[in-house]
């Protein structure tokens, strides 16, 4: 019978022994060394039954199929657009996945997306060599007009979104900003200049304090203080669905 060495949700660093015994299974961020399970990444250790994995706290975005991301158009070619994704690899958005509109042969593609435009897209596929295929067809996937772009730690994205979008819903409700969060750690927000600043501050606060318990309550207080409005919890989960943020599940799962 194996034994657990590190407590669940402890911060561990590469080389830390997490558990011993052959009945444990190494998952994301861990490896087996003899009968020990050892961390290979910095993060929080998590035991799910006999499966041991690491919830990362740092690191750049790694593209995953099904993720909704915000990218910037880098280049326009014959067959599509090259999009920078805030990770080590650029993505491709081909003409046939770009828009619902009809694109005639030989049309000027910059009419749809020009260099420097930001867009919300979904990752259709990622190959072993990390070639990324995007699609812009789907609910909430679109070109972004105006607003501002914010870069956050991609590992904190689930916390900024909150359970069923509760956290981002709260910020939206308090500030009246439209907010879209990409899994790649790029956030777009648009609203009144003053409330935009409050929203940015709130997001930065979540990023900095996400590991301290009682986050939602503190953010709520912060927002109420800044906006001078009372925030009613609940009922906002539905609202946050009207546009943007279709991807809250990946919260903690890898």
């Amino acid at each position: 019978m194996g034994e657990i060495i590190e407590k669940d949700k402890n911060v561990v660093v590469p080389g830390d022994e997490l558990a011993s015994g052959m009945d444990f299974l190494p998952s994301f961020g861990t490896y087996r060394d003899g009968d020990k399970i050892v961390a290979s990444r910095l993060g929080l250790v998590s035991f799910e039954g006999k499966v041991v994995k690491i919830i990362p706290l740092s690191g750049r975005y790694v593209p995953k199929r099904g993720d909704t991301i915000i990218g910037r158009v880098e280049d326009v070619s014959y067959s599509g657009w090259r999009i920078s994704t805030n990770c080590a690899y650029p993505a491709l958005l081909s003409v046939k996945d770009a828009t619902m509109q009809f694109i005639p042969k030989g049309a000027d593609l910059t009419r749809f997306f020009d260099i420097g435009d930001y867009l919300v897209a979904k990752i259709m596929n990622v190959t072993s060599q990390k070639l990324i295929d995007l699609t812009c067809k789907g609910p909430g996937l679109r070109k972004l007009h105006g607003g501002r772009i914010l870069e956050v730690n991609t590992n904190k994205v689930p916390r900024i979104i909150g359970k069923q979008g509760s956290m981002v819903g709260m910020i939206k409700q308090a500030t009246g900003c439209r907010i879209t969060i990409g899994q790649n750690g790029v956030v777009w927000l648009d609203g009144e200049p003053k409330s935009e600043i409050i929203a940015v501050e709130a997001i930065r606060k979540i990023e900095d304090e996400s590991h301290i318990p009682g986050l939602t309550e503190r953010i709520k207080q912060f927002l109420e203080e800044k906006t001078g409005k009372k925030i009613e919890m609940q009922a906002m989960t539905q609202e946050s669905h009207d546009h943007e943020q279709y991807d809250h599940e990946p919260a903690m799962e890898q």
């Binding site: 080389g15 050892v38 990444r41 690191g59 750049r60």
Partner: protein
């Protein structure tokens, strides 16, 4: 004649005071500060990111690129010419090779992890301090790695085997050997071993044994620094 007492009063197997900190450079993906005695190293990790020129890309795994640099005012003697030199190029290379065995870069084909090591103040043992700082910074950057790497110099001053030589010992007016070593703690693998000066087989063995013992302490300090970044600021 014999070297009976160390210049700074340390025991022969005693390290200089060490301080380590993770996450000191905000815009880097991972960073660390490592001080041992008067030698101070900063390491910043960027990436994994796009790698150019393209012929350097490896489709099977990412690569690591280290840049070691001593700041012009860092030494106690002559001003160090800024920019790369033959020496810094060599140290960058050995640092790369000391760190590579623990990294798992298969997840990042065609990309690069850049490590910049800067030394604002030096008093011997810079490549070891650089490796220690880089290991912390890489872990802080969330790069998958099997273990941390710790490094220290061992050597012989006159007739005594010592660890962690400072500059006064390296330039001691007698036979001096300076041997930087780096170990992976879990496997006991040696990832860096350079030798400057004459030692016998037995002396080298004894030195490595002493180094291995000392590195356990450095390894613990590295781990503590990383954990402090994420747990220390609680409440």
């Amino acid at each position: 004649m014999t070297y009976s007492k160390r210049n700074d009063g340390r025991k022969f197997d005693e390290l200089r005071p060490i301080e380590a900190k993770a996450g000191v450079i905000k815009r880097a993906n991972g960073s660390a500060y490592f001080r041992i005695g008067k030698t101070t190293a900063y390491a910043a990790v960027y990436g994994p990111r796009d790698l150019y020129p393209k012929f350097k890309q490896n489709p099977k795994a990412g690569i690591i690129r280290v840049n070691y640099s001593m700041m012009p005012f860092s030494g106690s003697g002559e001003r160090v010419r800024p920019g790369g030199s033959r020496r810094s190029k060599e140290i960058s290379m050995v640092t790369e090779k000391a760190l590579l065995p623990v990294l798992n870069l298969e997840e990042f084909p065609n990309s690069v992890v850049d490590v910049f090591i800067e030394l604002p103040q030096t008093d011997a043992g810079t490549r070891c301090a650089g490796i220690c700082a880089a290991a912390i910074a890489l872990a802080d950057a969330g790069i998958p790695m099997k273990d941390l790497v710790a490094a220290v110099s061992v050597g012989k001053v006159d007739d005594k085997i010592v660890i962690d030589l400072d500059y006064s010992e390296e330039s001691y007016d007698a036979e001096v050997a300076d041997i930087p070593v780096a170990f992976v703690q879990r496997t006991g693998m040696l990832t860096l071993l350079q030798m400057d000066g004459p030692v016998t087989r037995e002396e080298l063995k004894k030195g490595l044994e002493m180094g291995r013992e000392a590195l356990k302490k450095i390894y613990a300090i590295q781990k503590k620094a990383l954990k402090e970044k994420y747990t220390g600021e609680e409440k």
